[in-house]
Symmetry: C2
Subunit: 455 residues, 2 copies
């Protein structure tokens, strides 16, 4: 089944899944079911919903810490307890059949051998449906759980991440695709020349290899990247096949899109081999007024201390307590946190003359991602506008309350997108890579003959 | 359903699962199916078999490296490619209902925060059926994949392991059992006092905590330990609830058993709170002659280079190439490898006057574990003898060819054990901890009132 396309482009949609929804106060909403806590059933239901709708993937975030010092503030959020994504993905891999499965993992607080193995195993378990959202981790909270006083510097994190990704991809190529002959009479399980020992020696890692695992069904699991700073874009252009980014305005998104695609081409890659997918929180109403009301209902449930705490984290862990919440947003010092996110927030405050509290509440709903409120037709209009206007190849959907708002999107917005010929109504292939229209990296034996492979 | 017991003792049986079986040459055997490679279906079938037989658990080994330098020797084994155990356990957690699920993970090549999270998540996914086999990793092969030239020294590994286990258990107690109130009207997801920040600072780790995950259903996943050196026994007596050990002779096993139980009591723990479970490879025949024939058939399939390679690894990575394979076993220097295993092998060679090649072949079949050949009655006799004679609380079964020999054990030996009143015919509880008769560690709020908790 081939979906509609515009030139080589096809609209991609992922479902970013979370316990009770992406709105900061989702768990307090009457429509939210929060009784079952860290429940597999909830994630399984969402994955099946995405699969039945032939979305491209579900997406799992990750942090290796709680990101708030004050237990009383943390206790007002549902963010302090989450299932670990790679073990959860193992469970989803064997209880779904077609949907792509993307999980986040940090290059700063893992070792490449361990992560290469876990993603390769997940790719085997799922029959080739796994992706790795590579993050460098942008807060100090994590560092305190890993024997450090602070997160490594931004530049160091990205240098490590680049080498980390290289090692992981090298390890995935430890065996040729057809290495395992399993020939009982001769006793040859695999011929020596079908195994490749990596012998990596770099500034951050020495990894001999080989990985103790057959080559993943996709060759390499799909690589996703979420950093939007200059270093993040460059790493994405070099290594990634999907970018998850925070973009709030069409004009900014177009500039970002053009910049990343340009970098890609400069590196000898084809523009359609990296999908740019901003986060999008759709707030769907039968009328615009209903959508506004739905959103206001959620916003009213946010506790101010929680909003300010989240803003402080998104600004890279600054201490906002010295500032008047009802005064202007101060001229904050540059931190070691997520650079592009800081810029986005400070620009927004300046543009609209927001106070600290107003900025906190604006940011709170979707953690700085684009919140789109309207009727199903309004939402389809904007998606079409961004897609046709080359501001996005698709979106990572962040429904405010889950599962309710994911179900509404599938029921109300998807048919509208399909009616316009914008979205497929089935899977094109078996693997995530096939469904994203990505080439399969050749194994070491075939790599020499195919110079157009990933760098 | 309560099983039979001898005083407080009940026979425990686990099924150690592997791709094609525990015999080194299993994959070459005509009965072995090796076509599906790293296949979830195979592991799922074995887990369901164990569950239907109400065994206590399935057990997954792990190494974070291939343990052979020569690709041609490695290529003669089926050991170079295995699924990663924690992601595999995620898949098994949601596709089984009662069976315990134990996976091995190294304290030398992981960080406690990551491992605490993955095991806690698995405990949530499985409804409280998970165990962690804590190993320190005993070969240099692993170190080369983790930026090192050699494995840390034995004493350092155990010092790190002890602190690692302490941090992991502390992190599992980050939330009280009933912490998550999820009170929508007040907006209190959990009260501040129900969360406990660890603030661990030790020689090997600084981990602030808390873990970002609700307390596991079992409180703590069951802790299994596999080292049998003096340091290994001491760590087990302090932290473990199951010991997986290699014991070949009743007399030696009795001494080991008495020593470990004595250590336990000395530390204020109850002897029945740690089950001693040697590995056991049952080779089952309708007659003794058939069992011998079955075993000989497998032994004949071992390539000598593979047997010698495995022996060298079990001796701690010594280089055996200077020695004549048909000469006596040389007086080898002590290495940094698994101390108890080295001793066991050298004692065996001396006792029986074996050549290097003979020792290699003797060791090859079950990697130094006890191989028991005979009729179902013979095998039940020996199990009963070891159990009643306090040489073992049960066994970790290592069938030579899988699934065939696991099916034979369930079909032929289990009924014999049940007929003798030695083995249960159903699960006593819902969690692994309940099924092993282990106490549930109280949460921090209740710990003060229950001083008999785990140390």
């Amino acid at each position: 089944m081939t979906g509609p396309s515009f030139g080589a482009r096809r609209l991609k949609l992922g479902l970013f899944v979370q316990e009770t929804g992406h709105h900061l106060a989702a768990w307090r909403h009457p429509a939210a079911t929060v009784d079952d806590g860290v429940s597999f059933a909830r994630f399984h239901r969402l994955a099946r919903l995405a699969e039945e709708a032939s979305l491209h993937f579900i997406f799992l975030a990750d942090t290796v810490a709680v990101r708030e010092r004050d237990p009383a503030v943390l206790g007002r959020t549902a963010r302090a307890t989450v299932l670990e994504p790679l073990t959860l993905l193992g469970a989803l891999a064997v209880t779904t059949e077609r949907i792509g499965l993307i999980a986040t993992a940090s290059t700063t607080y893992n070792e490449p051998y361990n992560l290469a193995r876990q993603f390769a195993s997940l790719d085997h378990l799922s029959g080739g449906r796994v992706g790795w959202n590579l993050v460098t981790t942008n807060s100090d909270f994590e560092s305190w759980n890993f024997n450090r006083d602070a997160n490594p510097l931004h530049a160091d994190r990205y240098a490590r991440a680049k080498e980390f990704a290289k090692v992981v991809r090298g390890l995935w190529d430890s065996f040729d695709d057809d290495a395992l002959r399993r020939d009982k009479p001769s006793g040859i399980f695999f011929p020596a020349e079908a195994m490749h020992t990596l012998h990596h020696e770099g500034p951050h890692f020495r990894v001999r290899g080989p990985l103790n695992l057959a080559r993943p069904p996709q060759g390499h699991p799909v690589i996703v990247q979420a950093g939007s700073s200059d270093a993040g874009r460059e790493l994405a252009a070099e290594t990634a096949e999907v970018i998850f980014t925070a973009q709030q305005r069409f004009e900014d998104a177009r500039v970002f899109y053009a910049d990343v695609k340009h970098r890609l081409v400069r590196l000898g890659r084809r523009p359609e081999h990296l999908s740019i997918m901003p986060g999008l929180m759709p707030v769907i109403g039968r009328s615009r007024a209903e959508a506004e009301e739905k959103f206001a209902e959620l916003q009213a449930l946010i506790h101010p201390s929680v909003a300010l705490s989240q803003l402080a984290n998104q600004l890279g862990g600054v201490d906002l307590s010295p500032y008047d919440p009802d005064g202007p947003v101060p001229d904050l010092p540059e931190t070691n946190g997520p650079k592009s996110r800081q810029r986005l927030l400070l620009d927004l405050a300046q543009r609209e003359g927001l106070t600290l509290r107003q900025l906190a509440l604006r940011n709170a709903g979707a953690r700085g991602h684009w919140i789109l409120r309207g009727t199903p037709a309004d939402i389809a209009d904007e998606i079409e506008h961004w897609f046709r206007g080359e501001a996005a190849d698709g979106f990572n959907l962040m429904p405010p309350v889950l599962p309710r708002d994911a179900e509404d999107f599938v029921r109300l917005v998807l048919p509208e997108l399909r009616r316009r010929g914008l979205f497929r109504d089935g899977f094109e292939g078996r693997t995530l890579r096939e469904n994203l229209g990505l080439p399969r990296p050749p194994d070491r034996r075939h790599a020499a003959a195919q110079p157009e492979a990933l760098p």
